[in-house]
Symmetry: C2
Amino acid sequence: MARYPQRVQLIDVGPRDGLQNEKSPVPAAVKIELTHRLQDAGLTEIEVTSFVSPKWVPQMGDNAEVMAGLARKAGVRYSVLTPNMKGYEAAVASQPDEIVVFGAASEAFSQRNINCSIAESIERFAPVVEAAKAAGIAVRGAMSCTVGCPYEGEIAPSRVAYLAELMKGIGVERVDVADTIGVGTPIKVQKALEATLQYFSVDQVSGHFHDTYGQALPNTLASLELGIWNFQSSIAGLGGCPYAKGATGNVATEDLVYMLHGMGIETGIDLDKLVDAGIYISDFLQRKPNSRVAVALINKRAG
Amino acid sequence: MARYPQRVQLIDVGPRDGLQNEKSPVPAAVKIELTHRLQDAGLTEIEVTSFVSPKWVPQMGDNAEVMAGLARKAGVRYSVLTPNMKGYEAAVASQPDEIVVFGAASEAFSQRNINCSIAESIERFAPVVEAAKAAGIAVRGAMSCTVGCPYEGEIAPSRVAYLAELMKGIGVERVDVADTIGVGTPIKVQKALEATLQYFSVDQVSGHFHDTYGQALPNTLASLELGIWNFQSSIAGLGGCPYAKGATGNVATEDLVYMLHGMGIETGIDLDKLVDAGIYISDFLQRKPNSRVAVALINKRAG
């Protein structure tokens, strides 16, 4: 049998990545309450909001209000997404523990998503990373489309290595290997991770898998086998797949925690409280949690 | 990286295990068409129906009609479930390639499900197995609740070994290790498989995982790592979980095939035709396929 890490650190991206594409506005108070429920359930890393122009992401327009409203808990890392120096300056005023910059392993995706080449996107982030580090703020780099791209199809591991090298070059301290469209399967995901591990240590690499094709948990298992012990997920599976209407996006934190606990791997998370946090936000959004574990446990509770 | 089998053999249990709990009658013609679509998609093992009293499972009351209506394809194995000698005799008249007997690794489940102890259930199957073997019909043993039981909770691997030994003792040729309520996670499933591998070779053991808690694919990956290369699944995820209303039951064949093909493992199955077969039966049942791959591909086809 494979050796697995004894402990896994989860980053819940629900409040930011999960909610950002919701069409109806979610009040700041709901986002704050969701973040509080996540930290009460034992999450110690939460991606709270983004400091992107509200013209592009109106749902995150209340970023400063949300950050100011948090009753911060000791030992919890609150991170925010920052696309440029303007976003960074606004972000810093809200005192995040970590900022997140992002790039794609696919040129086509980079061009269509942020209107510039991969290399240009990294140049743009360089001063943000420098400023954050000078201010003692941690920096994470989100690497999207590391397995497949909606425009280019399959992405070669060498493209992932290229992006990881650029991220390393500007001083990013740790990176997320994201399967943005959820097309990855275990061996492909291991190759993307191995490409990244050429530039970052196993403690600096996190897996971020979408469940669009139901592959997020086997991909997580395949990552654990490489020693990866940081993963991102979204409470109640918040965040559909913008490239396949009605399809699943982020893997649900509940599903991931169930697997890890079943394997005897510690997360520090209380699954029941986590399910309750998912019910809270799902009720607000008037839908069922997009988590098989949540649905099964809700049915079980109902007897 | 782990070594995985190069080829996987899938048994689609949709027509039997998937449809048996449907409340509205599904006409024999629809079951036949579904079976034909599965074989056209490349499935070479299909669990077609059961020869159980129609008092208990009315949906399978058309068993003889369904078996008689099949346009059998060379190289395809058609199996049927048989609970006792009466069922066996009716089954044999329909010329199955394989009969399936079943037992539980949980005493409480055995008592509640078939009203006798595990040992008694095996005694009851002994003449069925003997008769089948004398008639040159293959025999498979379905072992349910090998990880968890809705009444007893967690099941020890030694209970699985006990059932496997009994199955071996009456001449069963191969067995399914089923996680009937879908509570298993990778290491637990490996332990249930290893207990079974004390009595059966790796070529004689198949994994049958329910996706109630979203764990079927990681459990499959964990099984592949032990060399297991036979798995059961259900087209469109047919067959909910009778122990958790509204929850998912059998893993969808589409999701399993997507993972295997993504890993370069051959199945002989055409995923597009498989998705079409799932759409066919889901349309009849007036619901969406309970398969993330099917939903994602249907959305992709729609552009």
